[in-house]
């Protein structure tokens, strides 16, 4: 197995009385695309948001890039991780370009570097440059989602977290988005952790799959193994529902 980029050791999280994650042990390998699958309430988004420190574990140990998620100066740590969410979450008050390059400007990139990276990302996401000055509301849902991906990739992160980024768009747009993400996977040297409730999506984009149910990992394997050899009846039902 490849060196892990993320390691969960005995990680638990609860909100009040409800246990969201229970003693999770999980290694996510570097350079691959791992899809976390599960129904809503399975704890998959919590798992993802722990990786960039948006949610803190109650107990256990979580290492990213070989180190514990830092308590102090977490901003620097987060800048090494891209993050894109369902519905894109673009800042409505600034332009497309501003949304994408804002963080690069804040960390002090030069104007030239910013423009070069911005144009490259726009090309890669197949977004015409004349959208640069538009505000997010003037864009289609699919375009917004691509801008969200550009923003997540701006600082050339080694790790990209995707929280159901394709679930708010129509099926045709989703297919287009799959294509750009596939291109991205082959062009950018980036490990991806993606949360999805769509097994078809997982099959198309992922290398590995982690199946969560009620805060417990049911199976963690290559996607072909999960499909060919489901670990539990629940996983089997999940697999069947997607075919």
């Amino acid at each position: 197995m490849v060196t892990p980029i993320i390691t969960f050791t005995n990680v638990s999280k609860r909100y009040g009385d409800s246990v969201v994650l229970s003693e999770i042990d999980l290694e996510i390998p570097n350079g691959q695309t791992t899809v976390i699958v599960g129904q809503s309430g399975s704890g998959k988004t919590t798992l993802l948001r722990m990786v960039n420190g948006l949610i803190k574990p109650d107990s256990g140990r979580l290492e990213v890039f070989g180190d514990l998620v830092p308590e102090d100066n977490i901003e620097n740590f987060r800048r090494k991780i891209g993050y894109a969410v369902q519905g894109a979450g673009l800042f409505p008050h600034v332009s497309v370009k501003e949304n994408i390059v804002l963080i690069a400007r804040l960390v002090g990139w030069s104007r030239e570097d910013i423009d070069e990276r911005f144009e490259m990302l726009m090309r890669q996401m197949e977004l015409p440059l004349d959208l640069s000055d538009r505000i997010p509301n003037e864009l289609s849902g699919g375009q917004q989602q691509r801008v969200g991906l550009c923003r997540a990739l701006m600082l050339k992160p080694k790790l990209l977290l995707l929280d159901e980024p394709f679930s708010a768009v129509d099926p045709l747009t989703r297919l287009e988005l799959y294509e750009v993400v596939e291109k991205l996977i082959s062009n950018e040297a980036v490990s991806i952790v993606m949360v999805s409730h769509d097994l078809g999506e997982a099959k198309r984009l992922g290398d590995r799959m982690v199946v969560l149910q009620n805060g417990i990992i049911l199976q963690n394997d290559l996607i072909s193994n999960v499909i060919g050899n489901p670990a539990t009846p629940y996983v089997e039902r999940l697999v069947q529902s997607a075919t």
Binding site: E75, F91, H93, S95, E98, I103, S132
Partner: protein, 511 residues
């Protein structure tokens, strides 16, 4: 906030501060006396008469006329904001010292001394409550006394609301004279007209009201001495009176002693209310006629009324802008500071909001009155009161906006690696800007309206002509304040609307 907007604000502040200092510098002359007056015609007249007499002696007089009532004048005097005003003995014993019994003037003067105040000899007239009837009604009544009303059950008896409530009003009066009428209430200002027109037959009056003369009304004799006396007296601070420097001033004031009897005061008042002569002109004619002032010593009548109105308007407008501008500036500054401090602490925001809400519930005039013992009268307490009023809309809008931003945007900006400060500056504040702006806009319009009340504590502004006009029932004067104030509010509303859309349209630009 963009740099341009910041610059504009700086310039505005500089402008406001400079004018503020120029004005405060102007008012600090070396040797002067500040005369206050209550907000009704007779008190304006008395204050102006004395002011003219003192000016003719070469003294400079600051006129703080039209202060909002007994409490405000009294506190202003004690706090050395004014040096003198004309008070009434009955008011001093009943309303100020809260004495149950009617006391002699000597004993009243003694008790005032313990409060540090010196009551000077009375002017002569007694402006007491009285019962007024038309002359033909009076002729039907034996001895023209209040007691004679007893047998006249068919008379329509209507009193002012205040007279119906006060213990020294109808309750006491009917018991003293054994009268039983079914009485109803009327607005005092309408009563004279109603009486004159025969709509009602009997009402309460102030014995020196000018309307008595205007409508040829008769006051019934208070043969059982029910009503306390309300002799007008100049009231000063004891320390001020014992200052040798002021001896010459005291001598001038004493010239008025015993010089104005009931009939004289009534006729002076009547000239203002029924003949529409300004109180300044009536006062001038009086001091000349009495020989208190030699002809030619005091300034002649100004010729151009229009120029007067315009220069007054300009002065009042500038003062009004200073009042509201400063209040709004500090309201915005502290409102934002408080909100930024409190917005991410739920407990504290709640407390802050309730405190601001509480401030808003204090009636404006009461808040202004509360300011007097702390800050005196005039500009400063008015600005502070307006500042306190402007806090709520600004704080409420800012807190609400900052706490209701889409949580997705917050977690996305966290995840991007923005620091808390960057998040506030680049996401939270810009997204809240329209709401914050709307709050400032509301505060501005409220301030402009409320600032008209500041004239009651001598702060000037467009409220000045309104207050004087209300006291003198002079609609022209009232409109000279009310129309510009309303226009100013509309203009402010318009300008803020424009600025607001400019702020929102910044959302479309790229940097």
């Amino acid at each position: 906030m963009s740099k341009g907007w910041f610059k504009v604000r700086l310039k505005l502040l500089a402008l406001i501060l400079t004018t503020f200092f120029i004005f405060s510098g102007l008012s600090a002359t070396e040797r002067s006396i500040t005369i206050g007056s209550k907000n009704f015609g007779e008190n304006f007249l008395l204050a102006e008469i004395l002011a003219l007499m003192l000016e003719s002696e070469g003294l400079s007089v600051d006129r703080a006329f039209g202060l909002g009532g007994t409490l405000i004048c009294y506190e202003a005097l004690r706090n050395e904001e004014i040096d003198l005003y004309f008070e009434y003995t009955g008011t001093l014993s009943r309303a100020v010292l809260n004495l149950e019994e009617v006391v002699s003037e000597e004993s009243l003067a003694e008790q005032l001394l313990t409060e540090g105040l010196f009551m000077m000899p009375r002017l002569g007239f007694n402006n007491t409550y009285a019962i007024a009837v038309r002359r033909e009604t009076a002729n039907l009544l034996k001895g023209k006394t209040i007691g004679a009303l007893g047998g006249q059950e068919d008379l329509k008896v209507v009193f002012s609301h205040e007279f119906l409530e006060r213990p020294d009003g109808w309750n006491g009066l009917s018991r003293r004279y054994g009268l039983s009428f079914s009485v109803s209430g009327i607005e005092h200002g309408l009563a004279y007209r109603a009486l004159a027109d025969g709509v009602i037959d009997v009402t309460d009056a102030y014995s020196t009201d000018g309307e008595l003369e205007r409508y040829d009304l008769v006051l019934l004799n208070d043969s059982l001495s029910f009503f306390p006396t309300y002799f007008a007296v100049p009231l000063v601070r004891a320390s001020w009176a014992s200052d040798k420097e002021n001896a010459s001033i005291l001598r001038v004031i004493e010239k008025l002693s015993g010089e104005i009897d009931d009939a004289t005061m009534r006729s002076l008042n009547a000239q203002v209310v029924s003949e529409g002569i300004t109180y300044q002109r009536v006062a001038r004619a009086f001091v000349l006629q009495k020989g208190f002032v030699a002809d030619g010593v005091i300034e002649a009548e100004k010729e151009s009324v229009l120029r007067d109105i315009l220069s007054d308007l300009g002065r009042n407008l500038i003062r009004h802008l200073e009042l509201t501008g400063l209040a709004l500036f500090f309201g915005t500054f502290f409102g934002l500071a408080i909100s930024l401090f409190a917005y991410d602490k739920a407990g504290i925001s709640k407390i802050v909001l309730s405190l601001c809400g509480l401030l808003q519930t204090i009636p404006s005039l009461a808040l202004l009155a509360i300011m007097i013992p702390i800050f005196g009268i005039g500009f400063l307490p008015a600005v502070i009161a307006l500042f306190l009023y402007s806090l709520l809309p600004i704080v409420r809008n800012t807190l609400t906006a900052l706490t209701t931003i889409d949580p997705v945007l917050i977690s996305v900006s966290d995840a991007l690696g923005m620091t808390k400060w960057q998040q506030l500056r680049l996401v939270k504040l810009p997204l809240s800007a329209p709401a914050i702006f709307a709050g400032i806009r509301t505060a501005a319009v409220i301030s402009i309206g409320t600032a008209t009340l500041a004239a009651f504590i001598g702060a000037g502004g467009l409220g000045d002509p309104i207050v004087v006009g209300l006291s003198l029932s002079d609609m022209n004067l009232i409109l000279q304040g009310a129309i510009p104030a309303a226009l100013l509010a509309l203009l402010t509303e318009y300008c803020f609307g424009k600025a607001e859309s400019a702020v929102s349209s910044r959302y479309r630009k790229v940097s």
